[in-house]
Subunit: 415 residues, 2 copies
């Protein structure tokens, strides 16, 4: 079932490269966890001194690897990342926790890293035990062949219902020294904030201490992975890890200890760019998606209210099916604003599709031209804006349409 869907029409026209990050080597292989004839395991080897930060699912029933990573995160150090697709090792009880321990043991033996500095993630079917012995005999080979230029292959190995690998990169200067951020993501369904993506791994050569990394990551995720939704469902495995190898220190980059260091200004912008790019790619690969939809809410009582209203619109099946049907059904936008539970005044609302105002002060805009709006709705990328005209709260989120293909993909995922 994986990989048999045609490429998403919203996929980037060219698959971008994933430039190497000094201090990181990738390898991928086939452990035969579930799929046949494709890679399903990726290993990232991290140079000594690598710092790590992470954000995880807020699910009350997280997967065993999420439990593992949360516990190991306290050390702030990482030497290896092991990820498999095909099985999420979620809701597998003690058997699942044991599988993670065994995987760490095997990875430690193969890489030489301490178990406490090995991070792991699994994606795929949930509720099925993961047979960690399948990593045995595979990881040694991966360690041998790992190299800095194999990031894109690694991104391919962690795909499930994804139709394209997702990578992004950006550069920035810290005190005049060029550093790079490159990352990958996978996720196509079960995508909703807290966290949004199922899995994303981001790497930089900047020498930044774990607490500073964590503060920047937690902030940057709000406008990126926590601002997207495909189907309002939240995975038990959502994991975002940010690794900083510090290799740029050898080129004169200063070591950064705190997130409020002014020299991080450009780095923060670059991090936002990479995370937002990856988050958008997840939406662009939303199961069955045909339209990429940006939803901007302004004039709300607060930023929090704006985000809640934006997600109410983004998650509404009626809004999403209307977009799929290329119907500028602003009545459904009103419905979604109304059900969000945040302050709204019907007779102040204004709504735009693609820059064309269709509703104003509680009723249809007198200048509203159905033909023009219809043309907007035929586009692959659609911008919806709602102004509540109440306050200064603003927020932007991204989603996709809800199509028959979504239902088809998810109606027989497990079979």
């Amino acid at each position: 079932m994986a990989h048999d869907a045609p490429l998403s029409p919203l996929a980037p026209k060219t698959v971008p490269d994933m430039p190497a990050i000094e201090g990181v080597r990738f390898a991928s292989g086939a452990a035969g966890i579930r799929y046949k004839g494709r890679t399903d395991v990726m290993l990232a080897l991290l140079d000594k001194g690598t710092q790590v930060a992470g954000v995880f699912t807020k699910s009350k029933c997280p997967s065993a690897p999420v439990d593992w990573c949360r516990a190991k995160m306290k050390g702030g150090k990482a030497r290896a990342l092991l990820v498999n697709s095909g099985n999420a090792n979620a809701f597998t009880g003690k058997v699942g926790a044991d599988a993670v321990k065994l995987a760490a043991k095997i990875a430690s033996a193969a890489t030489g890293a301490k178990e406490g500095e090995i991070f792991m993630a699994s994606t795929g079917v949930i509720g099925e035990p993961l047979d960690a012995t399948k990593f045995e005999g595979v990881l040694e080979g991966l360690v041998k062949e790992a190299s800095g230029d194999k990031g894109l292959d690694a991104a391919r190995a962690i795909m499930t219902t994804d139709t394209f690998p997702k990578v992004a990169t950006a550069e920035a200067e810290i005190d005049g020294v060029r550093v790079r951020i490159s990352g990958m993501a996978k996720g196509a369904g079960m995508i909703a904030p807290d966290m949004a993506t199922m899995l994303s791994f981001v790497f930089t050569d900047a020498p930044i201490a774990a607490p500073a990394l964590q503060a920047m990551l937690s902030k940057s995720v709000q406008g990126s992975f926590n601002a997207i939704t495909v189907d309002s469902d939240t995975s038990t495995s959502d994991t975002l890890l940010l690794f900083a190898t510090g290799a740029a220190a050898a080129r004169g980059c200063p070591k950064i200890a705190t997130a409020n260091d002014r020299r991080l200004k450009a780095f923060k912008v670059a991090l936002d760019i990479v995370l937002t790019n990856l988050a958008h790619q997840v939406v662009r690969d939303g199961e069955g998606a045909r339209k990429f939809v940006g939803i901007e809410v302004t004039g709300a009582d607060s930023a929090k209210a704006a985000k809640r209203i934006a997600f109410s619109i983004a998650n509404s099946p009626l809004v999403k099916t209307a977009v799929a049907g290329e119907d500028a059904n602003w009545g459904r936008i009103v419905m979604a604003v109304g059900k969000a539970g945040e302050k709204a005044e019907r007779d102040k609302l204004a709504i735009w599709f693609g820059g064309i105002r269709v509703a104003y002060k509680g009723l249809r805009d007198p200048a509203y031209d159905e033909a023009k709006v219809s043309a907007v709705m035929k586009e692959q990328e659609i911008e919806i804006r709602v102004d509540l005209c109440l306050g200064n709260g603003a927020s932007k989120v991204w989603t996709c349409d809800l199509t028959k293909e979504y239902v088809a993909i998810n109606g027989d995922y497990r079979s």
Copy 2:
């Protein structure tokens, strides 16, 4: 486009009768509001002394008729109910409020009822002005032909994407005197709690004062209309009205002033039966629905937590598509429990499909037989139960599956 969908496979095998209620006369006709070749307006005439109670959408952007009913509800008296399909008169600003006033004026002239005792509801497209002059010349005829046995025709006139009319009835004794409750509902999409149905009107001949009616209605709605969901979307027009004509007083039924009157015991049970029956019919006519799904959550921290978890499951697109695909994907149930935000312990959860326990204490039930569960999933009615094994909180909700037909129906509703 209304009425062109085939009858829901979940429809009751026979359309039940809607027995007459003493003191209520119905009529329906074609006002040409939107549809051609079908009825789109219904009028109920209520005898003098009729008491009324109501529950409305919690949307922050309610329709103009909802505003009207809320205001008139304070009087507690009703003489007429006017309902149209084809146009919801929602988000129509001052024009919408004016349309409601004009409709009340026309209805008052035709029926002789005071405007303050006329209740109204509209369903259909939102965001389009309603031309209330279309009622002119129609209502006089309806007043003439109104009779007690035309309830089912009235239920047909208020349908939109419904594939069958929804009526239910029950009887009870108050102090030894037989009274009756009959009601109708419409709604097939945009169905989620607070309130669930778009429109429902229930009538009784029992002589019960408005405050007592209101207390009983507000309570009964929790386990009925506020325990169903089709697509998590909430209409701006949701309206549930309960009218008590008091005609049974002539047969010796005592007048009831307060909801805690012990003589109401059987009446309350009958009211629950009628509202639950109507609510279930709404789900059974869920747009594109092929499966009727009951979701029971037990062992939660509180009843409120149980309901929130039950709705998290019921509204999950991944759970609903799995049901559509006849896949007993209990991993997605775990996901939905986890994302609800309520207290849950992964390693205590137990999950049943149709009485078969598939998961227990955090992993797959050792006795779980895939073939048996597959047979359960092929049924039209599916019971899912989750025991959190934490406390005594329990709740039950009902939903339907999410199919390609839902997407098709809602992808071109307005066009």
